[in-house]
């Protein structure tokens, strides 16, 4: 109560400080939610299908930029046989969505897809399958038509993998997907190859063999695929930097507020020290105010992040299923912890000032 009364003394300053904290926390939660969720979606997608290994171009920054020529894929296929499945992954800009995720899989792979409606292809050039999230967003059902890559195609199946990223994708037959994402005049290529081997000894052997015999490729466990993607590593580093900057700026905002509070209340601090309070008693009082500010800011920041995530998710420019719809409660807890940390760290400079307060001088302070 005392902390709240103290904060109410300068309402404009308190509101501005809260806004500063909320912006910092919202920024942290939003960017962290997006990157961790994308990584998790990729890992989930790989894990859901028991993909022990993913093979992709060594120099590629992501599976979308990985290019494996048909001759190279033939070599891999010859080495690993049916355990290897070539995949095409890419994005397209369509009038109904600016960032459509396109997947191309060979026909033998199709029976492993859990369908929630319809069936697999019978006339691949004129048909497509939609992930459940995308179908819901576009309000398309079995038998409806969707124009894709310049031609109307019939929706024959709707699949649900559990990965929002994959469930926001268009699934085509392999050649159709290659045609859709290959630039005009270029040779059709594959994106990645996945390996399902069954036991860990074979996985180790396959990893060693690819590393030795196919130096142009990188092989990573399916569950680590997201972490191995250079683009995601770069994004992750950027996000961490951004988070540190956001938290640093938030600390400065709170420090400024607490310093002003100490300056304005010097005489009160003198009174309290005259009746026997030690500096750490005063700091405890200031910490309560700092904590109220930071925790309130964290709550507002999380609400803002939630709103922002929903808004971004509703935006077609980002791509269906890429951005988390669900609120990451673990991040709410993390941001709460950060708020406590900010509240404590922001007290460092004011603490120095409080330790320098001489009760007699402070009592005369106007």
């Amino acid at each position: 109560m005392i902390a709240l009364r103290n904060l109410r003394r300068a309402p404009a300053r308190t509101v501005l400080t809260l806004a500063g904290i909320a912006v910092g926390i919202a920024l942290f939660v939003t960017v962290r939610a997006i990157t961790t969720d994308i990584q998790r979606q990729i890992a989930d997608a790989a894990g859901a299908y028991g993909l022990e290994l993913v093979v992709y171009e060594r120099r590629a920054t992501s599976p979308f930029s990985s290019r494996i020529a048909p001759a190279q894929m033939d070599s891999l296929q010859a080495a690993f046989g049916e355990a290897l499945t070539p995949l095409v992954m890419g994005t397209r800009n369509e009038p109904w969505n600016a960032y459509v995720l396109v997947l191309g899989v060979p026909r033998p792979f199709l029976p492993t897809l859990p369908l929630s409606a319809g069936a697999t292809f019978t006339a691949p050039d004129d048909e497509l399958m939609l992930g459940e999230v995308l179908a819901g967003r576009l309000a398309r059902r079995i038998g409806d038509t969707l124009t894709f890559d310049g031609r109307p195609r019939r929706v024959v199946g709707i699949f649900r993998t559990g990965s929002r990223m994959l469930d926001g994708a268009v699934l085509l037959d392999l050649p159709a997907a290659q045609a859709a994402i290959t630039r005009e005049g270029a040779d059709p290529q594959f994106s990645v190859a996945i390996l399902r081997l069954g036991d860990s000894a074979r996985v180790r052997a396959a990893t060693a063999r690819i590393t030795e015999e196919f130096p142009r490729f990188r092989v990573v466990p399916g569950t680590e695929f997201a972490g191995a993607m250079r683009l995601l590593r770069v994004v992750d580093a950027f996000v961490r930097t951004l988070a540190v900057i956001a938290i640093g700026a938030t600390i400065l905002v709170v420090v400024n507020t607490l310093l002003m509070a100490v300056g304005e209340r010097t005489r009160e601090l003198g009174i309290l020290m005259a009746i026997g309070w030690r500096p750490w008693h005063v700091l405890r009082m200031l910490f309560a105010e700092s904590l109220v500010l930071c925790m309130s800011g964290a709550v507002l920041g999380n609400l803002a992040a939630l709103t922002l995530l929903r808004a971004v998710n509703a935006s077609d420019a980002i791509g269906v299923g890429w951005i988390p719809v669900r609120y990451p409660w673990s991040l709410a807890l993390t941001s709460g912890g950060i708020a406590v940390l900010v509240a404590a760290l922001a007290l460092a400079w004011p603490a120095v000032m409080v330790w320098r307060v001489q009760p007699l001088t402070a009592l005369r302070h106007e």
Binding site: L272, A274, W277, L360, L363
Partner: protein, 224 residues
């Protein structure tokens, strides 16, 4: 009133500005528990400086102050000394504006580690003693000057200190409210056996004291 010296001051001096300003110079006196002593004299004569030294808000340039036989020069923890041994009543009440009267009184008990509930209960009891129980949850800005000063007396009594220091406690009060504050300080001396030191310009307040020590230019010029 006890015959044992609660306060013994010997050749006390406090100089400022490279000894150019002699706020106190060669002050000596003793005071007993339960005694009320009025420090009188014109503004700038050294009354507040003397009280600050006795309350360990400041350190002397020379001389010695003993409270219950303890030389204050040997006291390293001034905050603990102030919390246990001294109760302050200032001229301008000096209450924390964002704490209620009860919280202000309870704040004095925080350094002694008294649990919150016990602090608030004792604060209620003390406010009852100074006839302010009905204003316990009021903020200082919402009560009269006299009520604020009575609350300040309650706060000064919170830890039952052996020494009460009151610096112009009636300076901003009318005669009725001033008399009530003096009555409370007198009661503290008589019933709690506290030594009460009052710096005052008010002759009626001085008359209520057991002894009057007159200061001028930092020196004792009369005791009556």
């Amino acid at each position: 009133m006890s015959d044992v010296a609660r306060l013994r001051i010997t050749d006390l001096a406090r100089f400022f500005e490279a000894n150019a300003v002699r706020a106190l110079d060669g002050v000596s006196f003793t005071a007993k528990a339960g005694e009320i002593i009025a420090l009188t004299g014109p503004s700038g004569c050294g009354k507040t400086t003397l009280l600050s030294l006795i309350g360990l808000l400041d350190r002397p340039t020379a001389g010695r102050i003993e409270v219950d036989g303890v030389d204050l020069a040997t006291v390293r923890d001034g905050a603990a000394f102030r919390a246990r041994q001294v109760g302050f009543v200032f001229q301008y009440h000096h209450m924390v504006p964002t704490m209620t009267l009860r919280e202000n009184v309870a704040a004095a008990m925080l350094p002694l580690g008294v649990p919150r509930r016990a602090r608030l209960a004792r604060a209620e009891a003390l406010l009852h003693e100074v006839d302010l129980a009905h204003r316990a949850t009021a903020l200082p800005a919402t009560v009269s000057g006299g009520e604020r000063q009575r609350a300040a007396v309650a706060r000064a009594l919170a830890n039952a200190p052996p020494v009460l220091i009151a610096d112009e406690p009636t300076g901003n009060l009318d005669s009725v409210h001033g008399a009530r504050v003096v009555a409370l300080l007198t009661a503290a001396a008589r019933t709690r056996n506290a030594l009460v030191l009052i710096a005052t310009h008010n002759s009626e307040v001085a008359a209520a004291a057991d002894r009057r020590i007159a200061l001028r230019d930092g020196r004792v010029v009369g005791v009556s």
